[in-house]
């Protein structure tokens, strides 16, 4: 019997013992190994094997929730019992139910088989990467933030109606962040990361090259004049910014009055017609794609913005029921069932009337990476003020910008888009092209 089957059977036994008729369980087990190095030597190596489940118990008209890492029969029984106790305080309105799609057929999806590399292999791979990066330029004196990790994840969903979901996948990742030292110059830092299905699939050479190229390009930096600029967001930067305001599309946020949108916002033009956006969990470039959400609903592609028009929200079973639609595979189990995006795909909408290029544009700012999104975003007000790494670009010539921040309102930014480049690029949280925006405030440091 597999571990998942054992947990399911133990949960059924415990529920029967406690007289609990209706319950569901979402859980996962993670097996992870990671290494860090310093000047060619191992710095810290970590390994963990951990399990966790969240149980929901229905008690008449209310629901109780409990999470536990104790997945033996005693631990599961305690979790069910505690959830039953908590159900006495559950909301009596808008009580969630099982997803109507928890037993729907899920089409086959390419899943990666877990691989296990030895720690020696992880270390030697990372030491080689560190060495190559240190040798790429004399100013690069340290790689203070680095890591190589391999992670195997198993996840499952079961409920008392007989739904059983189970899948596993593996992901490997590497990141390298440099630090420079030059006389009479500030230290500079830049980095790169890669993810893949296994260590052997990671393009570490490209990661080293990207980190080196970025670092070198930031060595000669200049202060920038405070003012309004035409700005080009990198794929990572634009996805970071849009992701920080994902309450725009989040049905739970809307129902909780914690969104810039309302239930009536569907059909409104919220962006330039040049822009389209979808949440596509099963996008071919989504490494570690998940085929079902925390309630067992199959994941899918949801068009969020189509040619500038707000097209859909993302839902859990509960929000879908309240808004008279179908769940979208975006439920996440927690203290309360939440809704979260899976994998953003931003792309060009209507054809552009004017094409822009960094090779010909003058005095534009290329924002490579936004920082402090957790702090500088007022997601309920729409505003942001964020530090960034980037360059002032004049006819293809890039000059690194000394510390600076960029500020604006997401609703104005989306409407001020003047060009969405046709080619998309993979980032950790999605795929997107470079996006050009007119007239953003930039403060020089």
């Amino acid at each position: 019997m597999s571990k998942i089957q054992t947990i399911a059977q133990d949960a059924k036994n415990a529920a029967a013992k406690l007289g609990i008729q209706k319950f569901d369980i979402y859980g996962s087990t993670v097996d992870e190994t990671s290494v860090q190095v310093d000047s060619g030597e191992p710095q810290q190596m970590k390994a963990s094997q951990r399990s966790g489940v969240t149980v929901r118990v229905w008690n008449g008209g209310t629901v109780g929730v409990t999470s536990t890492t104790d997945v033996d029969p005693v631990g599961l029984e305690l979790a069910l019992k505690t959830a039953f106790e908590a159900s006495a305080f559950g909301a009596t309105e808008n009580v969630p139910d099982f997803s109507p799609e928890a037993m729907a057929t899920i089409e086959d999806h390419k899943a990666s088989a877990p691989t296990t590399s030895t720690v020696e292999k992880l270390l030697s791979t990372l030491v080689s990467a560190e060495k190559a990066l240190l040798e790429s330029h004399a100013a690069i004196t340290a790689i203070p933030y680095n890591g190589l990790a391999e992670r195997a994840l198993e996840r499952f969903y079961i409920n008392s109606n007989g739904a059983t979901r189970h899948e596993s996948h593996a992901v490997a990742s590497v990141y390298l962040y440099t630090k420079t030292e030059q006389e009479n110059r500030k230290p500079r830092s830049a980095g790169a990361f890669r993810v893949g299905y296994g260590v052997d699939e990671l393009d570490i050479k490209a990661c080293v090259k990207e980190a080196a190229d970025k670092t070198i390009s930031h060595l000669d930096y200049e202060k920038i004049q405070t003012g309004k600029y035409r700005v080009v967001f990198s794929p990572e930067a634009i996805l970071g910014l849009v992701g920080a305001f994902s309450n725009l599309f989040n049905a739970q946020s809307i129902l909780d009055n914690q969104s810039l949108s309302t239930a009536e916002s569907l059909g409104e033009t919220i962006a330039s017609p040049l822009l389209s956006l979808s949440d596509d969990a099963l996008h071919p470039e989504n490494i570690g794609a998940e085929t079902f959400d925390g309630e067992g609903t199959p994941t899918r592609c949801i068009p969020l913005i189509t040619n500038g028009v707000l097209t859909s929200f993302i839902h859990s079973a509960g929000t879908a029921k309240r808004m008279n639609t179908t769940p979208t595979g975006n439920a996440s189990m927690g203290a309360k069932v939440g809704v979260s995006r899976n994998f953003l795909h931003l792309f060009a909408g209507e054809p552009a009337t004017e094409i822009y290029s960094l090779e010909t544009a003058e005095n534009v700012i290329l924002v490579d990476e936004l920082s402090a999104l957790h702090a500088g975003v007022q997601s309920l007000q729409g505003s942001f003020s964020l530090p960034f790494d980037g360059w002032l670009v004049n006819k293809g010539v890039r000059t690194s910008i000394d510390s600076a921040t960029i500020a604006g309102d997401i609703r104005e930014v989306l409407k001020a888009i003047i060009f969405v480049e046709p080619e998309t690029h993979f980032t950790g949280s999605g795929v997107a092209p470079y996006v050009w925006v007119e007239g953003l405030s930039v403060t020089g440091g």
Partner: protein
């Protein structure tokens, strides 16, 4: 008297241990001592076990309903193995003897070590008599005496009702509470054997107001360690008043004009900027990574002579207070900066070994899945000689940063912080509310510009995320004047 014969490796599978399954007490000495000896026999220089049990619950009221009440139960252990200056950390949910042994074997394997052969002697590890901090201050009854689910529900709904009565233009209101009860045990091959119980609680408001196209969102959170009655004695009427007043003012705030300004930073949570911009740079973790400009500055002037700063784990009931750190060392009071001179760094075991700076009882971690690292506890700037009015009076045009938001510090020491509630200072007086401000600078520069400190030191609860996960901390300061700083805005 006959000496007890040394254990032989082949006997280990036949040993039976009766460690108490639901409590970390003296009964854990035998199995942990055996495992530590086994690790030493394998060739490890140092081994440490960290055992943890957590009983956590969160509760949230949204408008007039309890939208979630969610217990979370967790048990686990981590084993850390050092060989020379390198180390590895393995965590597991399995606290059985065989589960811990498997974790140890994995950790040793990562370091290139193996269990000794069947006929090898296992060195005795003589653990100290259990240093049980959990016997202090009635900690054993803390969990039972903290608020029940019914009480959580009642208090939060009453608090939200009060907020509605005090605030105008309310779009949504939340009151949220959590209680984190943690029992932990540390056993290490240097003989460390210690146990503690912690009770951390926090409660707060989030208020969103809206009128037309104007919105304001104000949050406030208070926290406590060691007071089971914390929630039932929460003065929510006071906090509701403060949050409502701030949200009302910020609803009509103008965007700040970017530029360089003198600023006054409020006390209490204003201390987050020192925590982020300087405190982290005084952790030995940063020295190990060579990412702090202060690494070779001990004994040198790194700040304005007006500035003295502490990091400690002792202030009664403060959010970062701990009786022992997560490596079993008693908490201390560490002088960081005295009149501008760098006096000490914050150090854990590994940091001390790798940098030479003495341990300060600062080895902290989120839980058993993280190895301990040098982390702050209650960190604050000492009060000065000025009155707050004197700080404002010294500024013709500047900004009062009354409520700081979050922030971050880059790998090279530059920082940025959002200001959630700000006011324009004109001729020493507060004139109008401002929004959208971000403070930008570098620690080495700004530390020299903190020229005035008032006498009103205040502390505030916070959460700090770093290499060993999220830990509870206190930030604090009196009102401070910074002579000039870049303010990002529109």
């Amino acid at each position: 008297m006959l000496a007890t014969p040394l254990l032989i490796t082949r006997e280990i599978p036949n040993l039976t241990y009766s460690a108490t399954p639901r409590c970390f007490d003296e009964s854990w000495e035998a199995p942990l001592s055996t495992l530590l000896g086994l690790g030493r026999a394998a060739g490890a220089d140092f081994i440490e076990f960290f055992l943890e049990r957590v009983n956590y619950i969160s509760c949230m009221a949204e408008d007039d309903v309890i939208s979630s009440i969610a217990p979370k139960l967790s048990t686990g252990a981590g084993v850390r193995v050092f060989l020379g200056k390198a180390d590895c950390y393995v965590s597991t949910n399995d606290l059985s003897f065989n589960g811990l042994k498997a974790a140890l074997e994995k950790a040793l394997g990562i370091m290139g070590l193996t269990f000794p052969s069947a006929m090898s002697f296992v060195p005795e590890i003589n653990l100290e008599i259990l240093r049980d901090y959990a016997t202090k201050r009635s900690k054993a009854s803390w969990l039972d005496n903290s608020s029940s689910m019914q009480e959580m529900s009642d208090v939060l709904l009453a608090a939200n009702d009060t907020l509605l009565k005090k605030a105008a233009h309310v779009r949504s209101r939340k009151a949220a509470y959590f209680r984190d009860w943690q029992e932990m045990m540390v056993a290490a091959s240097d003989g460390t054997f210690a146990r503690d119980i912690r009770l951390t609680q926090s409660v707060g408001y989030s208020l969103l107001c809206e009128e037309g196209s104007n919105r304001s969102n104000i949050n406030k959170r208070v926290g406590s360690t060691s007071d089971p009655a914390f929630l039932r004695t929460w003065d929510y009427a006071f906090d509701a008043e403060e949050v409502s007043e701030s949200a009302g003012k910020m609803l009509y705030a103008d965007y700040v004009e970017s530029g360089d300004y003198p600023i006054v930073m409020a006390n209490q949570f204003g201390g987050v900027i020192f925590h982020e911009a300087c405190g982290h740079l005084l952790e030995t973790t940063q020295i190990e990574r060579k990412t702090t400009p202060f690494m070779d500055k001990k004994g040198q002037k790194i700040a304005h002579e007006n500035l003295t700063a502490w990091d400690e784990g002792l202030t009664k009931d403060a959010f970062g207070t701990i009786d022992m750190d997560d490596e079993g060392m008693p908490a201390q009071r560490t002088l960081l900066i005295e009149n501008g001179i760098l006096k000490n760094f914050i150090s854990d075991r590994a940091g001390s070994m790798r940098t030479g700076h003495p341990r300060t009882g600062s080895g902290r971690r989120q839980g058993y899945t993280h190895a301990a690292a040098s982390r702050m506890r209650n960190t604050y700037i000492a009060p000065g000689k000025f009155t707050t009015d004197e700080l404002f009076a010294s500024i013709d045009k500047g900004i009062y940063c009354k409520k700081m938001g979050g922030g971050s510090v880059g790998a090279t020491g530059e920082f940025n912080f959002a200001v959630d509630e700000a006011y324009l200072i004109e001729n020493g007086k507060l004139t109008k509310p401002l929004k959208g401000a971000t403070l930008i600078g570098e620690a080495v520069d700004v530390m020299q510009k903190i020229s005035m400190s008032s006498q009103d030191l205040g502390l505030a609860a916070g959460f700090c995320g770093s290499v060993s996960g999220s830990v509870y901390v206190t930030v604090g300061q009196p009102h401070l004047k910074v002579d000039s700083i870049t303010v990002g805005g529109r």
